[in-house]
Symmetry: D2
Subunit: 339 residues, 4 copies
């Protein structure tokens, strides 16, 4: 950590600051520049409150040298983490494809989709029971009953299931869920993250709409600090000024995250673009730059769908995506051991 | 709601779409343009899922004409809402100033600050007991014990208190809290919002870092849909590319929100700028453009503070802000009845 | 174009508005909704000033149905545009790779890089003579002399050359330049775009840091409106809140632009990420999702470089990128005729 | 400047780097941390290319301690700059109000507006002759003829005039223009800025849509490096995700710029909001937080205006804004000498 002092710092405040730092076993190496004095701090600065330092009258700026996350940090854990999920895994040599409908609607729907995506090569089934909806007047999901239907589809196909939790109070219902998803809007619901750190279950954390990669890793750190290392990161588009797509898919995050952390990284092109025909090219791009997997919305309920075009992505279209992705996969980017 | 169809829409899909809309008592007024056909929908479209429509093969785009929120909408509720809080109120003729420390630390600290801000004219006391911190290693607040200290300061000064809830499970501890704050990171924690809709208590909702005004109003709508109209909106800076300030304070939201909604709007310049000397000018600007109040961090604990400069804003500096604000107040912008 | 009127519009203003629209041969189809009246406009609305309409007292909002660009619009020009450049082309069956140093420094440097990138399969040579630099104290490029050196490298290798123009006054120096580049900061330098529309030369337009795809297409439209259809679009990263990379590479723009326009689209992963090791994975991703080519910085001047690590991407690293890209290429996404 | 080295830097590269820095008379103060070595650089680092340093293999990050601008820097020029314009000035004790139409249309129009805004207290007249328009099909301004009309209005009223230049080639027409405006889209048109640095005329630079304050100051530095210190900065809204207003007015920039620089800062609420009724509250807020002036669009051409509501802001509405601003002005924020 580096502290940049203001010109002519008040003596007494400087003495206080240095005494306080020393009391935390941090040694201080000053450099006198022409217009500023810089203090280089040596020691464990992870508990130093950077905002507090910045608030001091004599301090112009504070800059971190070390990342504020440890458990998630590649520097302290060189090998890729592999998250075991039922008979499959996320990370390592397996390319994970998590597919299924946005919302679970009926047993028939979720089971049909499950069988279809399994045939096409999906490794896990997704389906929403608790739905975060911007409007209180929109369908909020089948909730507990939705989970039951999802578990029937799991039983039928053997596919592990991934579904979103929206509140701590729902946790007891997730016993047989294989991967618990934390949605983008809950990425900084710290009470929820802390509790999930005690479950031991694989946790898939979606990056918040306007969260930096460092904030995403700090949220992973919350889960890992509780003793649960089974964390999967998922990019699903960030909010920018561009309106041609629903969000902006930040694919650069794939190699960057894999450099910063040992945790697996998957991409959700369905939510990122919000446009079903764009899922295919963006899934291909995500595969090419080294993602560990994909999360894709597949829908199939012709009897209930309001008209033929309503499916976000049909099982047939998903099968086409899988073939395209599989053709890219052998040529995909592999992170060298030292980037 | 307006549906813009693609060129030469498939006949059967169009028939299905129109039958489906008719089944919801929505009448359809088509306009044939040179390159597109437009369907104007007349009727209650608030339950129509706009994303579903957009996903249809034959639809190029869908545009809302009406706002998706009702209870919060100024169009259906012309008069300003006044939220009663203890002996004071937010909105109407009272300019609310909510002041206090970021974190509650000791009884002495919170009580001293409470007395000081009361003397300077604050109408309510704030203080954090449950603290949302980006890092799991940072101080997480005194939690339940912090609430107890806050209530002592309330008793001592008579100031109503505002404090943040982070999870539904904490709700039972908030009985004597006057205003429950929903933090920016929880603005779309819909389960929490729903439950707060049943409390009847004043709820202060902070705008999310990257939330649009419409999303903020939809979150207010969640609370109001549960029967609780005592909602206060608070802008505290949005995330942009600019790094000179911690966030970008969006003051245009004051007149815009007051046009869109009847709910009171307050501004938090402390979090928006992250820089204590900027609180004064931005508080003055917020007052000038018609905000209903301010939320300001004031800190005073010289014995524990690590050195003299550590206070985010001292009681003396807060007093100076109050005088500047009070000088602006008689000249502040008043929204005309019809903007 | 759709006009949404305010409730109870003033009669005289409405009559004026309708007369004015009729005077432009636009017919008006009103739909009376419950809370609003909508006017559907039929006719050529491309000359109607949307901001003027929005400013009217009686108008709540105006929404465009048609894109404001014509020459660049895929709807009016179904086939892909192929831009001929010397013996090669951009678009169609050729995958273009434009490689070379950021700045032209010496004859030796530019010629060595030119030969190296040609060997690895580059189709064109880039090199900066006029350099847009944020600081007036930074090296501003060799300017006219740089262009001379670039043309020597062209002569030596036969590679067509791409280089940036910064001001109209430089245009006379660009006679033998094959592709004139308009930089991101000049994307909306409309006087420059207009003049380039009269040159007949291929123009490569880089998307501005915070420009929407529609604005990029409007800039292309400026060139095309002057009679020059040889426009190449280039994405080079947009500005967002994320700071882990210099900019955020918006790869979704590849399929989206190819749907909106018939112009070729290339990607510059060097500027987008600002990090040389990330060029390879992002070049692979760009290729996978259907880009028509890449623009990559390659540097090689060991004698002048300040130490061994200074090269943005060495010729050897570029060769490695080319092999990876070529392996992806046969499996890359192809836009179906009707997306 | 601080260089953070990677763990175990390659010896030869480190020696090269240090020799190169020493050759520029920069002395190096290393601090060995637990995981990183930090080099504190002492000396004039303004000519060191930070991107070059970042590109080195052995460097993890580089952080600037000093601002990269000098002439514009408050640290080296404590007193406020006052820009003299005709008989008036920008900065110091004068609150400047620059008012007038977006586009100059006729002599009658510009003269009438000029007289009206003068009566209400405007200190300068604005009017667009060369208009940067997103669409090549939109009205591009009266250009040279527009300037002539503007100068007639100047003669009539005695108000100094402000108008935008779009290209260097237009410069000869600006002899009698009092303040040359550089538009937001040209803020980083460095060739133009350099040339304006040689004119000696007051230059008003509008902040680019997605430009940081530091970039704005670097553009001012371009003009000042040419010997022209008469620079006025203007904030006119930045691009964010919010769509309720055209841009997001960043009023925090007023105190922040006044801390960073001695140059005067004015606010354009018309472009920032794009909504005429919002000009008044935002002008009031800008005044309250210490801006040196305002730039406001006023339009008045009832005979040509397409209907009564078409004026962006009528002279009567402008007069109302002026009264509101004048009531705030005596109570406005004054930057203390040492913030």
């Amino acid at each position: 950590m580096i502290i940049i002092l203001k010109k002519n710092p008040e003596e007494k405040q400087l003495t206080n600051l240095m005494a306080w730092l020393n009391s935390m076993n941090i040694s201080i190496h000053p450099t006198e520049g022409q217009t500023h004095t810089i203090l280089g701090l040596v020691g464990d600065t992870s508990h130093v409150d950077i905002d507090l330092l910045r608030a001091l009258d004599i301090v112009e700026d504070v800059k971190r040298v070390q990342e504020p996350y440890k458990n998630a940090n590649r520097k302290f854990h060189e090998d890729d983490t592999i998250v075991k999920v039922g008979d499959t895994q996320v990370g390592g040599d397996v390319f994970s494809v998590i597919a299924g409908p946005c919302s679970i609607e009926t047993e028939e729907q979720i089971c049909e989709v499950a069988e279809a995506v399994k045939r096409s090569g999906a490794t896990m089934l997704r389906g929403g029971a608790f739905k975060p909806r911007t409007s209180p007047y929109a369908f909020q999901g089948l909730r507990g009953h939705g989970l039951e239907l999802l578990l029937k589809a799991k039983k039928l196909t053997g596919l592990p299931v991934v579904t979103e939790i929206m509140d701590l109070s729902q946790l007891s219902l997730f016993d047989e869920v294989d991967v618990i998803q934390v949605g983008a809007r809950n990425m900084q619901n710290f009470e929820l993250l802390k509790e999930l750190g005690h479950t031991g279950k694989p946790i898939l954390i979606k990056r918040g709409l306007s969260s930096t990669l460092q904030e995403l890793l700090m949220s992973a750190e919350y889960v890992m600090a509780g003793g649960n290392d089974n964390v999967i990161l998922c990019e699903r588009g960030i909010r920018t000024f561009e309106t041609a797509t629903r969000n902006t898919l930040d694919l650069s995050c794939v190699p960057m995250l894999k450099k910063l952390t040992h945790l697996p990284v998957i991409i959700d092109p369905s939510h990122a673009t919000g446009i079903s025909w764009m899922v295919k090219p963006m899934a291909m791009a995500a595969t090419a730059c080294g993602a560990d997997g994909l999360m894709i919305e597949v829908h199939n309920d012709p009897k209930k769908a309001l008209c033929d075009g309503a499916q976000s992505l049909t099982p047939a279209a998903f099968d086409d995506v899988m073939q395209a992705v599989n053709a890219i996969l052998p040529h995909a980017y592999k992170m060298p051991k030292e980037a």
